[in-house]
Symmetry: C2
Subunit: 115 residues, 2 copies
């Protein structure tokens, strides 16, 4: 198990962020990490919506988010803690993450929520 790779903030690319968050499952995971006090174990995300995500897929999703520069993962005993890198990313790309999270919130709302 090779050590986890985290890009430096100046190496974070918009295309990687957009690609990572273009998947609704990953966007939901990221939104949850941002919302839930900025820390969450992988195992806490066994399902998104009513869809169960196999753990190999989950692992890949976290890897994509990590390598896009959106989260920082560190081992804590047997589990993984995932911190959002929101502040760093927002400083580099102002407004990007909020706009994306809001867009998903709007589109999943029945009609014009997140107003």
């Amino acid at each position: 198990m090779r050590p986890l790779f985290h890009p430096a903030i100046e190496d974070v690319r918009p295309e990687a962020i957009l690609h990572a968050l273009a998947d609704p499952v990953r966007a939901a995971i990221f939104a949850r990490i941002m919302g839930a006090g900025f820390v969450e174990a992988c195992s806490a995300v066994s399902a998104v919506g009513d869809r169960v995500i196999p753990k190999s897929s989950l692992s890949t999703h976290f890897k994509v988010l990590r390598e896009a520069g959106l989260i920082r993962s560190e081992r804590h005993g047997v589990e993984m803690r995932n911190h959002s890198r929101y502040d760093e990313v927002n400083a580099r790309f102002p407004g990007l993450l909020i706009a994306i999270i809001n867009a998903y919130a709007r589109s999943s709302a029945p009609r014009a929520a997140a107003q």
Copy 2:
């Protein structure tokens, strides 16, 4: 040649927009359409940066942008005019498009441009 499909604004999904703009070539094309008076023929985009794009790929890129709801394409004689749907999209997902375009502008700048 089937008629071009344009989604209604309420059917536009954030994942489609992010997927469309996660490709730097498409993002550059969209930025150019937005910048260049909101109208541009496909053939005006033979290259992005120093990279020449084959026309079959170009056609697909425009199709992805169109079906994501980002542009509206209409035939004008022998050529195609591509209008940005910025206003509609921005009304539905406020700040999303600007943030994305700005992010690309920042990342391609040598150091902290688009300030």
